[in-house]
Subunit: 441 residues, 2 copies
């Protein structure tokens, strides 16, 4: 077999659209193209599942099983015409020959859509990258879940109060929705589960620290939402550190720009995301801040007619969005849908329609009965916001079974003040050597 | 801290019972001791969860999430008096000083109960151990789940029909309940899911082979059950090879004692289990076949007053059970309960009661509407047996949430002919180099 068709995709007489990434953007785009028989679509992803990223923090904190927020991509595509999925990692794009190079071979395209999403941005701080935890994928979330639980098991084994405190100390860097939601969930675990699970440990000494570089948390939301979220977190006992930047973390001590420091066995870095450049599409002039690909109003990558980018990795700089759109699900979904229509227009030799972002608002949950919601004309916080948050998240989850299982878990967790998925299925091989007297579990 | 109390278990003036293992036996025993305040109980396990092993094959085949068949041990012990859990692996027993050595330190005991279960028995065949898959733990089951799915993704990438067939060929060695249930589940996947998930692959060519060394499958059950299970499997398209022994497997070719051989990317070894000897309790005279510890009718390990063994690792040789009891959940649970009573009798200076096994029957499911059940006076097969199987398994699952989530999944799978947990969350790093043209995914 020649390398060029090693992916065994039949060559049809239809234009071939290759989509890289089965996240919110890629799936929304695929859906738009699903019933049209005018194109052949190849979806590539390094995972065989779609991840519902907004709920990763609930996996990390034992509230949901990972399998309920993942959905098999092949199942999504089952009823689609002329769709092909390949489990592959993209290595390079060769725009001049319209070829994409992957770890399993090369593939030609007529139109290429990069919907590869984003990864954690450590801003070049390799020490934090090495010793801190990220939470952008299901395996990372499971690692964090294991580590949190392992820390408490370790805390039981030391007589040194200082070390025990460090093992029960959590530093979350980044006051965006991820950081806020994780801090809230940890605070509820501290209150509802730790005292029962660890009766021989003074779990009141566990600390949850949320560190934010700016002067308010949830800075993408309204002042009201920020203020209320802070109140909620404080009522749950979370320590909020504003105007604070963590500079290093060796696995035990996190230093900041001031004299403040944290002794903590866990540091979660939720302070930023960035795109991952793809060879062949990494010319300096097409990369915006955070390695995002500069696109025009049709999501065409600058200087490339047949290459598009959507979602987190796309940076559409308009007057309204000088930094591009927020790196969240909504812009990705909307761009995917618009691009779906546009690709069909292209194939039909019609004029494309520019993308117009409809801001549907944003929301974050802090804990039980505590959420903040900003809609365009209506901002509210508290119990009703919390129900709205749950309803919206259930609605956007893919798959009936996932919705039912998540709903069952939420009802159970609510009624019982519990989270039963506190399992160390695959231990996270944490090096505890910085902690005296600590043995490897 | 001195090494002897590195586990930080307070020294009470109560007799200390140390239980090694939180499986069916260990948990049943713990439950018996739970409300008595006459003893201190320390439960050790290398995992922080109890595994419901009879449903592991459903995890491997995407029918259930792993988290629904696992249950946090600390949650089980929450309401128990004087109970302590430690995440630890036992390394050695020193009966003369009543000390148990673990990877996190040493611990003294007054009574020690080994309930460590069993592991896969490859009967010394290291080549099969290296290249075959086992299915005794949740991580192993997840590895198998990943491998099954990876094989189909690989099969798409080759033009060589022979290799493609090998990638879609499954060999299951062992015709006990595990092998039968796994074979049935794979056959249903082949029928219900593969054609939809892999429209560009001729999945009819996928083969499921069940290899049994004896002349019938389910040899622990009645002739009727064996015969009917064979019929069920054959109706599902499973190839049954009786009186056949697999001798080697290099990751591609499985040889047997005859000229029969299988070219298959997957070989699951479900042909036996054995105990894992613990240093200090491994004298030849106390080990029965399969490294099980010889125990008397009180589950006391031969020659050791204060050391007991229950469940798979215990071999109680009686006239009725010359090979010991079957290595299944029921004997473990019953021995755990009996030993619980007996330990309390010991503490109270009363005479112990010998263990009497009540055979409650056995059952296996082959697939949708197809199961076989042997009760003492009543043996039946088919749809009703299948409902009985489901009811019993739901009943024995620990935890209300787990039961509801498993039930939801079963209803969904039944109604939709589907299994949605077909996710490669952590890829199994299979070496496909024996397969030409195959690249590492």
């Amino acid at each position: 077999m020649s390398d060029i068709d090693a992916l065994n995709i039949p060559k049809l007489s239809l234009p071939r659209i290759v989509i890289v990434g089965g996240g919110f953007g890629g799936v929304a785009l695929a859906k738009k193209l699903s019933k049209k028989k005018e194109v052949q679509v190849v979806l590539l992803d390094k995972n065989n599942y779609h991840t519902f990223q907004p709920l990763l923090y609930q996996v990390s904190t034992g509230g949901l099983e990972p399998d309920s927020i993942a959905y098999p991509i092949r199942k999504i595509l089952q009823d689609y015409s002329n769709f092909y999925f390949r489990l592959a990692e993209v290595q390079q794009v060769k725009p001049e020959s319209k070829v994409i190079v992957t770890n399993i071979g090369q593939l030609t395209y007529d139109y290429l859509v990069i919907a590869a999403g984003s990864t954690t941005n450590f801003f070049g701080n390799t020490e934090i990258e090495l010793n801190g935890m990220a939470m952008k994928t299901i395996p990372q979330s499971l690692n964090l879940r294991s580590l949190i639980l392992e820390n408490f098991e370790q805390a039981l084994l030391t007589d040194d109060l200082h070390e025990r405190d460090a093992l029960m100390n959590f530093v979350i860097v980044g006051g965006g929705p991820t950081g806020v939601e994780l801090a809230g969930a940890l605070a509820e675990i501290k209150k509802g589960i730790l005292p029962k699970d660890y009766p021989d440990l003074d779990t009141r000494r566990a600390q949850i620290n949320l560190v934010q570089s700016g002067d308010r948390i949830l800075k993408g939301m309204s002042d009201n939402a920020s203020k209320k979220a802070e109140d909620f977190l404080e009522s749950l006992g979370v320590n909020i550190w504003k105007n604070t930047r963590v500079t290093t973390y060796d696995g035990k001590t996190a230093l900041t720009k001031t004299e403040l420091k944290f002794e903590a066995a866990t540091l979660v870095w939720a302070a930023g995301v960035k795109g991952v450049p793809i060879a062949g599409l990494d010319a300096k002039e097409i990369l915006a801040g955070g390695n995002r690909l500069k696109v025009n109003e049709f999501n065409q990558v600058m200087g490339h007619d047949r290459i598009f980018a959507i979602g987190d990795i796309a940076c559409m700089q308009t007057d309204a969005t000088p930094q591009g759109h927020p790196m969240m699900a909504q812009p990705a979904i909307q761009q995917g849908r618009n691009l779906g229509e546009n690709l069909l227009r292209l194939v039909r030799d019609e004029a494309m329609e520019p993308f117009v972002y409809k801001d549907k608002g944003s929301m974050a949950t802090v804990g039980r009965n505590k959420a903040v919601v900003d809609l365009k004309n209506y901002k509210f916080q508290g119990v009703f916001a919390w129900f709205v948050w749950m309803f919206i998240h259930l609605f956007f989850l893919i798959g009936f079974r996932n919705r039912v299982v998540v709903f069952v878990n939420w009802v159970y967790n609510y009624v019982r003040f519990d989270r039963e998925a506190r399992l160390i299925i695959r231990p996270y091989q944490r090096d505890y050597s910085l902690f005296k007297n600590q043995k490897t579990l």
